[in-house]
Symmetry: C2
Subunit: 331 residues, 2 copies
DNA sequence: CTGAAAGCGCTAACAA
DNA sequence: TTGTTAGCGCTTTCAG
């Protein structure tokens, strides 16, 4: 039914080998006449190459698999844009596999799907691998790279912002604005969260601020986590919070407004990510902004073996969610 | 290098046929003993089935391709959740192909990629097909379905909200709240935009409101489009705007606040979509809320041939962005 | 219940 | 420059 190179061969009185050559653009191995005939026949028959067959014989698919989960955050489109851009330049197709909401079986399944198709590389976006995931990945002879997540293991490829530095910068910024009772909200208890926690603690320690452990409210980077974090802070006299993501910041902000707090006077917020969410809230959120597009691009480079373990710099974007504390009275 | 069924056959002294049968779970065609031997050998060898080979011989891939573009909106994750959920139930894998930002070549490429892999179906999420896209799709013997977009052609499968009704409801709501000078912002000039425009116009006509054409500000559903729409409205005495998406509404809202308008008193907004963006803004956005998850689920049903052309109902979610106009003075 | 053998659509030696 | 041929790894008749 669907035409194959055989049909083209029959129609042109050429061998399938010649047809394959012109369709594969093996320049110099066929005559202009053969080329013309094949191309025309292909057009007439509505021929389309069967990629599956090609992949089988070549034992290689020029495909990058991107495994991604439904993070409660919203930065993944930028990362994917970056991936797509660079992958296109390197002649790789991109297929995105979806791993649900941190659901282990779906993560395994996505990895297996990628592996079973001999993709040329796997990019794991914001995925915390469990033991099974790591085994699957290690056992296969396929390059993989964690993107927007750093496993602390120099031997495992990754591209991300420097989470320690990122939290450190944000905390320093708040301290520079007179805050000393500073919360950290919404981080998880895995690599990213722990790295950010360390940066936050380092900045506080750097200024001899004795942190109250209750200043750290864990969560999953979601809007809901931000909302939940507010009320504990109110009794702690916290004047500023570093939010683990824009979504956490937004949750914190709407919860605060629900309690009739005035921002930033009653509560300053610095957010991590710097997506468009920061512009949408009132007041706009000051953020440590990650370069997600570049993270995506470099992820491709890394998995295609063109770059070393990579840290992408962040920038601090001042908007309107931090108050200078000097002239204000701490509660 | 990578083990194949041949290796398992050699190791177990069985034929590759038998190995294939147990690995394919062709129950009743092999003995328990054979099964045990094969399974163990497979485990020991770290065998993983080569999906590409299977797809070649079966001439069929149990894969649904989802083609999606980087819409400036943000509802796609919900749709994908729904797709994934239903696809899983039907034993279909899902691969997501990314079509850039309404870029024709990338759209063709994504469609071709799907077609070249004989996927069992193609779901196009919020994709406006051009002539080439439609030809490609029609020519192939692969079921496809537009999701969150309705082409007005009863013969083409689609699942979406009723755009006419959705705009009609929103407009009626504003009229019921005393508004008569009502804008429509951010719609595109394709199917979705035109359908919503018609619904908006129908509601106005229904109340003998003579609409000023300038009340309609076109755009691409983006935050920027919302921001750009504000200033024209100020000179037109518009008291309320129906925003074509949550992002448009957010843009409108921040632009209005930038002009020191008080919302909703100075400008009421109803948004279309009802994503989490509506909760994040101040005031929260009243919206006509689409059931994106269900749209995704039904998209799978439709493409797998289990449902007819489908309209998913919407609901109006009242939040805080619409003022009752009775007791207020129109500018 | 098991094995032998024929392909799926294509590429890549190897000959001609 | 072109054709012949042998597979890629798997499923599936058809015999046994």
């Amino acid at each position: 039914m669907k035409p194959t190179i055989k049909d083209i061969a029959a129609k042109t009185n050429l061998s399938i080998a010649t047809v394959s050559r012109v369709l594969g653009h093996k320049q110099g191995t066929y005559s202009a006449k053969a080329e013309a005939k094949v191309l025309q026949a292909a057009r007439e028959l509505g021929y389309r190459k069967n990629t599956v067959a090609v992949e089988l014989v070549k034992k290689r698919a020029d495909v990058l698999a991107v495994i991604i989960n439904a993070t409660p955050t919203n930065f993944s489109t930028d990362i994917i844009d970056g991936i797509q851009e660079r992958a296109g330049q390197l002649g790789q197709q991109v297929i995105i596999l979806y791993a649900g909401n941190r659901e282990a079986p779906l993560q395994h399944q996505a990895i297996n799907t990628a592996l079973q198709r001999n993709v040329s590389g796997i990019l794991l976006v914001a995925i915390e691998p469990d033991a099974t995931d790591r085994e699957l990945l290690q056992a296969a002879q396929v390059p993989f790279c964690f993107v927007s997540l750093n496993l602390d293991d120099q031997n495992i490829k990754s591209v991300s912002s420097n989470n320690h530095d990122l939290a450190y910068q944000a905390t320093e910024y708040l301290i520079a604005h007179g805050h000393t009772r500073i919360g950290l909200a919404g981080i998880d208890d895995y690599h990213t969260g722990r790295q950010r926690l360390a940066g936050y603690q380092a900045a506080l320690a750097n200024h001899q601020i004795m942190a109250d452990p209750a200043w750290v409210q864990r969560g999953n980077y979601s809007y809901q986590a931000g909302q939940a974090a507010l009320s504990p802070y109110r009794s702690l006299g916290v004047t500023a919070v570093l939010a683990a993501s824009d979504m956490v910041a937004a949750g914190l902000l709407t919860a605060a407004q629900g309690q009739h707090l005035t921002l930033p006077q009653d509560l300053s917020i610095v957010s991590i990510d710097g997506t468009i969410i920061c512009d949408i809230t009132t007041p706009a959120l000051t953020s440590v902004t990650q370069d997600f597009r570049e993270i995506g691009r470099q992820g491709v480079n890394r998995v295609m073996g063109q770059a070393a373990q990579t840290i992408i710099p962040v920038t601090l974007t001042e908007r309107a969610s931090v108050a200078e504390l000097d002239q204000l009275e701490t509660k």
